[in-house]
Structure formats: structure tokens, C-alpha cells
């Protein structure tokens, strides 16, 4: 598994996403309130726009989520499943924090 460092962990604000360009892929990164980091593909499958990193982060029945900023469909940050339409999924990427830096594997 090869890891790419994308930013300092401190650059991630709690409950606000950023997008990183990793090997031509757009990876949406989120730091939740409890400090965990999650990585989803940035492509919103409903609109076709690369915008998921700009959605509102929250929880649904305890599960960390992001809502698409365009039409508000909610995705699990853990599984990438759309919780409003379970047949729809976005890719989830491996992510870790090493030496204060956020690293992604795509």
C-alpha cells in the first residue's frame, strides 16, 4: 500500500472538508469532531460535480456523515454509502495520520 502525504493534520478544521488531488483523483478529506479523518471520493454521484468536500459534516444516528452541497443527499463517511439511497455509493479511501501529516492511499 503506498501512501501519499497531502497536508498537515492541523490544516483540517473539525467538521469541515478539504479536497486533495492524489494521482489525478479528487479525494475529499474530513476531520470529524472526535478527531478521526475520513476520505471519500470528491465526486457527487447525483450531480456529477466534484463537490463532496464542501458539504456539511455531521452525524446520522451516530454515524459520521457529509451532505452533498448541491442536493443534500447524505453519505456515510465510514462506508461511502448514500444513506438516503442505499444503492448509491462513493469510493472510500484509506487514510491515516503519520507524524502530524495526513496520508492517503488511493
Amino acid at each position: 500500500m503506498s501512501w501519499t502525504a497531502v497536508c498537515e493534520y492541523a490544516a483540517l478544521l473539525p467538521e469541515r472538508g478539504v479536497c486533495a488531488l492524489v494521482g489525478g483523483r479528487q479525494v475529499a478529506l474530513f476531520r470529524t469532531h472526535d478527531g478521526h479523518v475520513h476520505a471519500l471520493d470528491n465526486l457527487d454521484p447525483f450531480s456529477g460535480a466534484y463537490v463532496l468536500s464542501r458539504g456539511i459534516v455531521g452525524t446520522r444516528r451516530g454515524e459520521p456523515t457529509v451532505a452533498s452541497p448541491l442536493h443534500k443527499q447524505v453519505f456515510s463517511l465510514v462506508s461511502g454509502t448514500c444513506l438516503d439511497e442505499e444503492a448509491v455509493q462513493v469510493p472510500v479511501y484509506a487514510v491515516r495520520v503519520a507524524g502530524g501529516r495526513v496520508e492517503v492511499s488511493v
Partner: protein, 809 residues
Amino acid sequence: MRRIVVVGYGPAAHRFVETLAGRGFDGRVTVIGEEPRPAYDRVALTSYLSGTSVADLTYPVPGGTVTRLGSRAVAVDREARTVTVEGELAEPYDVLVLATGSAPFVPPVPGREHAHVYRTIEDLDAIRAAAADAAEGVVVGGGLLGLEAADALRTLGLRTHIVEMSPWLMPRQVDEGGGAVLRGHVEALGLGVHAGAGVREVVTGPDGRVAGLRTPDGTLIEAQVVVFSAGVRPRDELARACGLEVGERGGIVVDAGMRTSDPSIYAIGECALAGGMVYGLAGPCNTMAEVAADRITGGTSSFAGADLSTRLKLLGVEVAQFGAMDGALDVTYMDPVAGVYKKLFISDDARTLLGGICVGDAGPYAALRPFVGKPLPAPPSDLLFSGSGARLDLPDDAQVCSCNNVCAGDVRHAVTGLGVTDVPGLKACTRAGTTCGSCVPMLRQLLESSGVEVGKALCEHFAFSRAELFDIVRVRKITTFSRLVTEHGQGRGCDVCKPAVASILASLHNGHVLDGERAALQDTNDAFLANIQKNGTYSVVPRIPGGEITPDKLIVIGEVARDFGLYTKITGGQRIDLFGARVEQLPDIWRRLVDAGFESGHAYGKALRTVKSCVGSTWCRYGVQDAVGLAIALELRYRGLRSPHKLKSAVSGCARECAEARSKDFGVIATEQGWNLYVGGNGGFRPRHADLLATDLSTDDLIRTVDRFLMFYVRTADRLQRTAAWLESLDGGLDHLRKVIMEDSLGICADLDAQMEQHVATYTDEWAATLDDPEKLGRFVSFVNAPGVPDPSIVFAAERGQIRPVTAR
């Protein structure tokens, strides 16, 4: 022999060395203090000005303690375990105790260097010297320390003013009602109170001497002595420099044993961050000192937080606060003639005493403080006033709403006798909960106990409606989503509640929507201060008040659109929308617009959009009033006001109504005598003509009525409820609205007015503020790891000479 070095010699350090001495500690204790004397009683500092000597205030130095006074510790070497004292050799330690205290906070306003602070004997000497040839003084800060400083200035014979940012004095000890009573006492002593006011600058005269203080609205308070007493900041610079853990907002992080992140170093007093809190009161600071001394001598005691209850007499007025400062229920006794205010906070089951506030008579403090967190020892009415044998299971005569004097029996009668089935119905019928709203949970409980099911939850995270959340945030002075969701909700929110709470916080506190944690609550439009479009690009709408624009400004918009290749369209609100900007372009676009004098148009916000106008009497042969002038005035007054949904307005200069004002949330149509005001109009999905609220108003009356209409709407509407739907759902409809905002039937107009004044006084352009803030600007990138790279997925084609997005769908 163990060597203990204490840095800082204030009351906490004194308590520490005193406790050590009392335990027979036989090592070497050295105290390094900045001030030229040992610790003294800061609580009694003001008495120094009325004749108490320094010697009387100073604490005795315990035998065997080595003191190095007038000495400044400048560095700690944790490896070598030494403290470097300025200009001297390093002092070795086995255990280091940081008791560096705090420093007065002086806001970064022009002229601050001419102001005094109020903390040390030297500060008081300087104030006394300055007061010698002064007639007036002003204290910035109306909290505990601020009032003490004001008392000092008064003692020195100055006509004294107090400027307090919050709407009332001592906001940390008393609520709004208590603040009003306190203000009465303070004003009766001849002090001027300027609450809800900030500081723009300390003004100096041509001779370079202090001439007064200017508040943000331009008022000059004349004074020759200015004292800042607006809070303190922990002195943690030494700890920071040697790499000890410090809190986000300052303070040296310690565990329950007062130990810092270095096991050889302790921190006590006002510089310590214990359990996430910095304590400024003498009691907790002394406890910390005792715990540290105990631990260092082998004990196991711990500091488990502190009761912040206070009882004091300031300016001759008794003020006391104990336990919580809010609760589901409250009971108030108020005697404005005698200047007495007493309030108890009680849990929502009305069984547990949570806390209380007293002004003018601290009697209940001693008797009730022990009962905090325990069952009420007697009915609250008995505890606060004489007579009445109310039982605790809320008998019919128990007061539910103290603001409007509504008893449980009135509520029960409304439910069982009149068939009311929900909280809004109870509010309309009994007026309970219509003022401060703190009794709403009680109303719900009474409904439920009468067998009515209630449900108005905003989302899974909050069991409240937006209006209820608004009241909770307002009454409990909540400023963060985290606190609100922790105390009144569950989970971490969602795209429904977060923007709703962001809007509430913005309505109540103004401030920048991207400050701190609030940035994470915003919908993407507010997060990037622009409107997202289907391909993930944004559109930009500069404000063009009233639709009036100079040719030069029009040219700037054209040049910006051309240079950034933006699609350009005239909007329905008489402004210009520029489409197709990528996030990283937004700051550059706005730099050009702001430089040319434009500000945010808030097209992205649930906020005032535009006030359209016809050309009005200036040019039009039919016009009877200056519609453009009024539209501009209204737009500038309400710009930036965050609300439950967007707000649109228009002004027509005659009855021909060319501005289509009756399709707006508030529309104004000129008459020969003045203005007619229409409210609750809507275009959109379900068009609705606005209703005529008032006729032939003068401009001043019109503005006051619109102020109240908007603030009442902001307070009470549901999330994303436009004024049209809100007005239709309002019990009593237009008549009720007219009574509330024109006849003050609920007694809330002064509040609404004050809230709008605060909005107007604190408005700033959020785009200009963003451009000035590198931290906020840093978020305007497409890719965190490639800030200059544009998003390659964004593609445009050409159509009719402009760009159009190319999207998969």
C-alpha cells in the same frame, strides 16, 4: 534538599507557600515575583485608593521562603531544570510551580497605549496620578472587575462612565432582568452606563492627552482617564516558550493534581487551565494552590473544578449568583422600586434547584446555595417571596412564565378548557413563553401531562423548533454550536440544524460567519460567500443598493467579468450576477470589487437580498416620494441581517407600483403623506400579495416598524419559512402582528429595537473582512495539496458569446 521554585508572586503563589510552610516542608522555596513587593490582597485592591496602606494589603512572607522581588523569569530549561531570571544566573529547581497569573486584556483599538488597566498597586498609582487633574473617567468593562474599577474612579472624585459590550452589566453573574435592576442602582449613584456598546478608539486631544472614548457608533464619551477592565488573559508565555501544553485559548494545561505536561512542573491560579477552564476567582485559585502543595508533599488531593458562585457588594449593591445561570424553569421576584431582583433556576421537572441570581438583596444566597443540585427545600415562591404554599408538583397557582405572569392553571385551562394542542397555541392563548421563551419546555411538559402529543423537532439532533432554539441561544447566551448540541441536543448535527443554528448565531451575535467553529456550520454558499452552481463553480453578486450604480462602478463589474471570463446576467433584484468562478478565484475577484467600493450582496445567504426601487420622484413625473433614496437607506440598514430565509424588499415611488413591492417580504409604496408598508409578500413557488400593515408612515416610523417586523420574524419563524408562510401561520395573523410590533402588546419592542440597533451598529462587510484574514483566505483553494491548481473537472463551452458549464448531467 528539594528545591521548589515558584514563578509569580500573587495570591495563589502566596497560598501555595503558606500551605507548604504549614505542612512543615523543609526544602528550599524560592519565589520569583515581577512586582516589587510580596503578594497582596487583590480582592481588596480598591480600598488602597480610600486609604488602606500597601502594608495592610500585603500578605506576610512565610518564614524560610526566599523571595526575589522585581525579578522577571524569562526562560525555563526543562532539561537542565533551571529558571532563567532576567539579568541573573539561572535558578535550579526540582519542582517548578508556575503561578504567573493573568494580564488584563486590552482590545487592539487605536489609542490603547493611553489607557490604564486595573490590576496592580502600580496601576492604581498611575490612575490616581491621572485622576488628579481629570473630571471624568470611563471604564471599559461592566463585569465584576470593571465595576470595581468604576468604583475606584468614583472614589477618586471622577464623573464615571461604564462601557459594557453586553447588553447589561455583569453578564457573567446576572441575567438581563438582574442587569436592569443593577443598572438602576449604578445609575442612581450618578454613574453613566453604556451597555451594548463597544470601543472604537481612545481619543486624544491636540495636546496629546486623553480626551475620551469613541464607541463604534461614533459617540464620544468625554473622559480624561480611560481604564480597560474587560477581562484577563492567562500569562502562559513562559510555559509556551518551554513547550508545555497550553489550551487553544490560552492557559497552561494541568491535570487534577495541578501538574502540567511536564511532571516536574505545576501550574496554579489564573494561568492554569484545569479541566478546560481558567478560573479568575480567588476561591478556586486558592484551592489549586493547596492541591499543588499537597501533591508536592506526597498527598493525593485533587482539584475537581470549582463552584463559581459569587456574592459581593459592588458600589454598595449586593449581587450574588450561585449554581447554574439557566434552567428549564425559573421563578422571579422583582421589585423595581426597591431595586430587588431574585431569580431561581429549576430543573424541567420543577424538583431540583439549579441555581439563582440575586441583585439588591443577596439574602437567599446563603440559605439556598447548599441546595444546588438537590431537591427544592420548599416551593420556590416560598423561597423568594412570603406567603403562598405552592406544592412542587406544579399546582395551578405555580407561575410557569415569569415574564408574563402565567400560572400552571392558566396553561391547563387553555389545554383542557379551550382545546389548545400545541406550544404556539399556548403562546397565543396565554402569552406564556412569548418573551424570553425559557418556560417553553415547561409548556410542553404541561401539554404532555394533559395527554397532548407534541412534536416540532428540527431534526434528529434537536427536539426543538427553530424559534425555540433561537430563544434557548438568546436566553442562555450560547455562542457555539458545540455547546448548544451538547447541552440541548444530541449527535453532531446535520445539514438541517447546522445552517439553522449558524443563522441564529449570526442574527444574535453578528460577527463573521466564518469565524472559528461557525465556519463548519455553514452551507457551502456561506462557507465560500458565493452561490454554488450545478458544476461546482460559484456566482458572485456585489451589492448595488436600490439598484443605483455609477458608470465607473458598472465599468469595474464589466472589467472583472471580462478579466475572469465570467458569465454575466442582470438579476431580478436590480443587480448583476457573475457566474463560473472557481473557489480559488473568489478572493481575487473580490479584491478588485472591494477596492472599487463594492461589498458583499449576500446573494448566497439567508439574509436580506436587495431592496429594489423604481426611479422615484427625483426623475419620474408621477413619483411622489424619493423611492431610490429610501430603498438605499433600507438596504444599507438591513444588509447582512441573517434570517430564517432570504428577505426581499422593494420601494415604489407612487401607487403605480413599478418596483413590484407587494411581491416582497416587506414592500413600501409612497403616498402623498408618507409611506404605506406591506408585509408577507412572495413571488416564487406560491405567489402571495403582501398585506397592508400600516399607512402614511413617516420615514422614521416606517423604519422602526420594519425593524420590529424583521426582528420578530427572525425570532419566531421556522427554519426556511419565508415571511409569507410565517404570517399565515401566526396565530391572530396580521392583527396580532400589528399589536405586537406597533402597540407593543407583548412588551418586547424595546428588545426588538435594541437587537436591530445592535445589528446595524455591528455590521461589517464579510468579504472585506475575509480578504483581511489570511486564515480564512487559505480555505479558498480547490486542492489542499495543490493550492494554485484549478479543478480540471470544470469545463465550459461558449454560448451567445459567453461561457456555459459543460456537465455530465
